[in-house]
Every structure is written in structure tokens, then in C-alpha cells.
């Protein structure tokens, strides 16, 4: 693990430095905006920063792919399947330590917890301001990271299979879009299930709130909808990058 980590650091050095700088900048900007008094402004800015904070998550699969590409091109006999376990653990630890802790620090800095609330609302839920939700938001962060890592893994495995190699790129694109949609539907469904099983926790799915509150909520969360679409787009791009990166890029 130590040597793998050393190689990982060596191969992905620019990404690590980039992510670190990016996160520091996000914390600084969040702290500056925490002085604003207007709730809506804080909410919208908080949403934006929540999304910005998500970006390093997208970097981790890219780093993993870079490492796999490195091993692929070097002709290593390391079974990629075995390697995924170690790398996933590594990325999870990295993510939890960087993004998780940073989220808490940023939230403490901005007092009003806009990051957590807006982060959760990206999954179409409203949430109150309570210590319980800090934990919940942190778990969501970890779950998303796990989901992202594994969805990328599954997509990679699928595209590496003999079956996929015979399909045209249109079919491959359709499958990628299908996987991306399925991923978000499943995530949505899981949270609806949590809300149904634990009604005492005031996580209210959008569909269950009164209409007037929905309208108010929708007007505020328009930014989140756009961000979600962009998030799906980036996910598709990342998945496509795996495919294109793994094969045929030698020329």
C-alpha cells in the first residue's frame, strides 16, 4: 500500500496540488461570504460553493483512471480488478479526510450551514439546521463519493468487457447516459426510502411538501437543478474519459 500510495502521489502530483489549492480557495471564499447577512444570498452562494466542493470528488475518479492508464500502458500485470479495491480505499480515505473535514470547517466558518443544507437539497430534500444534519450531510458526502467511485468502476468494467467492444459508439453513449440516469434515480429512491422509514427525521421529500412551499422551494432551487444537470454532464464526461483513455489513445 505504501509503494502504491507513493506511485499514486507521483503519478497524480498535479491533481493533488490542484485539489489542495482549490479547496483552500473555496474555504477562504466561503469564509468571506459568511459575513453577508442576507439569507437568500448566503443560500445561493452556499449552493454554489457546495457544488464547487463537489468538484474534487470528480477529480478522484479521474486520478484513479490516470493511475489505471499508467498501469495499462506500462503493461503491468497488476490485475486492474484487484487494484480497484486498494485504490477505492485510498480515494475514499483521501476524500473523507479532505472533503469531509473541509465541509465541517467551512460550515463552522459560515455559521448558518448553507453548504450542508444546499448540498442535501441537491438531492431534492429540504433540511433544517441541526447538529443531526451535520452528521447526515457528512454521510451523504461519503455515500456520494462511494457511489461516484463505484459507478465509475462498474462503467469501466462494462466497457472493458468483450461484449461492449463490438458495439458502436452510439450504443456506448446510450448505455453511458442510461447508467448516469439510473444512478441518480437510485440515489433519489434511497433517500425517499430513508424519509419513508424514518418519518421522525424531518427530511421532507419535495413531492410531500405543500404546494405553496414547493413553489417557494423550486424558485430557490432553480440553481440546484442546473447544477444537477451539469453534475450529470460531468459524470458522463468522466465515464467517457475512462473509455477513451483506456483504449485507442496511443495514436
Amino acid at each position: 500500500m505504501k509503494t502504491l500510495l507513493e506511485m499514486q502521489l507521483e503519478v497524480n502530483k498535479p491533481f493533488f496540488y490542484g485539489s489542495a489549492m482549490y479547496l483552500i480557495l473555496t474555504i477562504l471564499l466561503s469564509s468571506i461570504f459568511s459575513f453577508l447577512k442576507d439569507t437568500t444570498v448566503i443560500f445561493v452562494l452556499g449552493s454554489l460553493f457546495a457544488f464547487l466542493l463537489l468538484c474534487p470528488i470528480l477529480l478522484f475518479p479521474v486520478m484513479m483512471i490516470r493511475m489505471i492508464r499508467f498501469l495499462h500502458r506500462i503493461g503491468s500485470h497488476f490485475q486492474v480488478d484487484h487494484l480497484f479495491g486498494k485504490l477505492t480505499c485510498f480515494f475514499m480515505l483521501m476524500y473523507m479526510s479532505i472533503a469531509g473535514v473541509t465541509t465541517i470547517l467551512v460550515s463552522i466558518a459560515v455559521h448558518r450551514l448553507p453548504l450542508f443544507t444546499s448540498y442535501v437539497q441537491m438531492f431534492d430534500f429540504q433540511i433544517g439546521e441541526n447538529i443531526v444534519y451535520w452528521v447526515l450531510a457528512f454521510c451523504l458526502t461519503v455515500l456520494t463519493s462511494l457511489g461516484m467511485t463505484w459507478i465509475v468502476t462498474i462503467v469501466y468494467m462494462l466497457f472493458r468487457s468483450q461484449f461492449m467492444s463490438h458495439l458502436s459508439w452510439w450504443w456506448k453513449l446510450c448505455i453511458l447516459v442510461g447508467i448516469a440516469i439510473a444512478f441518480f434515480l437510485v440515489v433519489s429512491w434511497i433517500f425517499q426510502m430513508i424519509a419513508a422509514i424514518f418519518p421522525s427525521i424531518p427530511i421532507v421529500p419535495l413531492s410531500l411538501t405543500p404546494l405553496d412551499e414547493q413553489a417557494e422551494y423550486l424558485s430557490i432551487s432553480a440553481v440546484q437543478v442546473l447544477l444537477q444537470l451539469f453534475y450529470v454532464y460531468v459524470l458522463i464526461k468522466v465515464s467517457a474519459y475512462i473509455y477513451l483513455g483506456m483504449y485507442e489513445s496511443e495514436y
Partner: protein, 229 residues
């Protein structure tokens, strides 16, 4: 090592590089893949190494279809571009040692010394010839059953080429197969035991040089002219 291509087709960006290409290599000697289009021979090496997938057809290694697990028997490194450009050759050797259990670090240092490579050289400062020498040292330092060398003489002067030939003959595993794709055929008579000519995406002709040279009437250069002119 037994390598068999069965009607392999490979397209890159809709351009057909190999078209229903079939051939077989059944030797433990040094095999040359020759042809006017080095893209064909390079693609064959990439397909055997598994860094590319065929569009159609089958590649069989030792009577089993090519699989990821075959990589532990194949030594192949096409270039050093995938390594971080700010690292030096010593770092590359360290990475290689971690990744390949059959990598002999000491042997690689000896080869680097013989090829006059300084381990402290940064990768970004290497010329094409230096890179080719590093690739040879790294590849031959593995205890593999199959060595694949792509254009090992590119950018290297005649004296260094002769040195590389000597190293190839001395330092490879004696029970291993070495496949070399090259356009530098002036040393071919000294190196190859078997040559395969490719043209138009297919195998054109093949010659066993041990039988052929015993007749003593022609060289590979003559044959190359005869085939391609």
C-alpha cells in the same frame, strides 16, 4: 512462446491498419517484424501487449486466448511518456520494481551502465536515442517469456546499435521469444532468426533465417528489396 493471430482486424479512427491478418510465431529466438508501414508492426506489438484490442479476430498465446493475466509473461514498454516528466530514470526504475515482481533492479543498473545511461537524468531531457536505450534496459531486465521491442534502434548511432545487438543476445532470457519491430534492417542478418514481412495490413511473407542463411546466397536487405520494390 506460441503466438497466433487468427483473422485479426484492427481499425483506428476508421482506418484499417490490420485486415484479417493471420500468422503464427513458434520459436524461442529473435523474430523480426518488417514492413514499409511501421504502423502495422507497431499495432501488432500493441495488440500482443494488450494495450489495444482487436476489432475482430482472435489472438492466442500459448493456446489460450489473450488475457490480462498474460501480461506477467510479456515485457513491453513503448515509451516513457506515461511517467511523470519531472521524474528521473532512478524513479522509473523504482516504479518498475514495485510493479513487476520479475524485475531485476541490479541487472537494469548494469544494462544502464553499459548503455551509458545516467540514472539521475530527468525524463524531460532525454533524446529519442536515450529513451530507446532506457526502454531496452527496462524491458530486458524483466524475467519474461516474451519481449516486445518497438523500433529499438530509432535515433541510435551505428556503434550503439551494435552494442544493443550484443546486449540483446546476451541479456535476454535464453528460453524467451523476442519480437522486434524495426525499419533498421542493416543489422537484421546478425539478430533475427525468423522474419515476417507485412504489407497492406496482412502478413506478406515469412522466412526462417537459420535455414535460409545456410544456403548463403542472399541477405535480408536483398530480400526486403525483392519483396517491396
Amino acid at each position: 512462446m506460441n503466438i497466433k493471430f487468427e483473422c485479426v482486424t484492427k481499425k483506428v479512427y476508421h482506418k484499417t491498419i490490420l485486415s484479417r491478418c493471420s500468422f503464427m510465431i513458434e520459436t524461442t529466438g529473435i523474430v523480426g517484424l518488417l514492413g514499409p508501414n511501421s504502423l502495422e508492426t507497431t499495432t501488432i506489438l500493441r495488440l500482443i501487449a494488450g494495450t489495444m484490442q482487436p476489432n475482430n479476430g482472435k489472438i492466442v498465446l500459448n493456446h489460450t486466448p489473450l488475457h490480462y493475466s498474460h501480461r506477467q509473461e510479456i515485457a513491453y514498454l513503448e515509451h516513457l511518456r506515461m511517467f511523470p516528466s519531472d521524474s528521473n530514470i532512478a524513479t522509473v526504475l523504482f516504479m518498475y520494481q514495485q510493479l513487476f515482481s520479475d524485475f531485476d533492479h541490479q541487472k537494469c543498473q548494469i544494462l544502464c551502465e553499459q548503455l551509458m545511461i545516467d540514472l539521475q537524468w530527468p525524463l524531460s531531457s532525454l533524446t529519442r536515442g536515450m529513451e530507446a536505450s532506457v526502454l531496452i534496459a527496462l524491458t530486458l531486465s524483466r524475467k519474461a517469456k516474451l519481449y516486445l521491442l518497438n523500433e529499438p534502434f530509432a535515433g541510435i548511432d551505428f556503434v550503439s546499435r551494435e552494442r544493443i545487438v550484443r546486449i540483446l543476445q546476451t541479456y535476454r532470457q535464453q528460453d524467451a521469444t523476442v519480437i522486434i519491430s524495426t525499419n533498421h534492417i542493416e543489422l537484421a542478418d546478425q539478430i533475427f532468426e525468423h522474419v515476417i514481412f507485412f504489407d497492406g495490413g496482412r502478413m506478406y511473407r515469412e522466412y526462417n533465417l537459420t535455414q535460409w542463411q545456410s544456403k548463403g546466397d542472399t541477405t535480408i536487405i536483398d530480400k526486403y528489396r525483392e519483396v517491396y520494390e
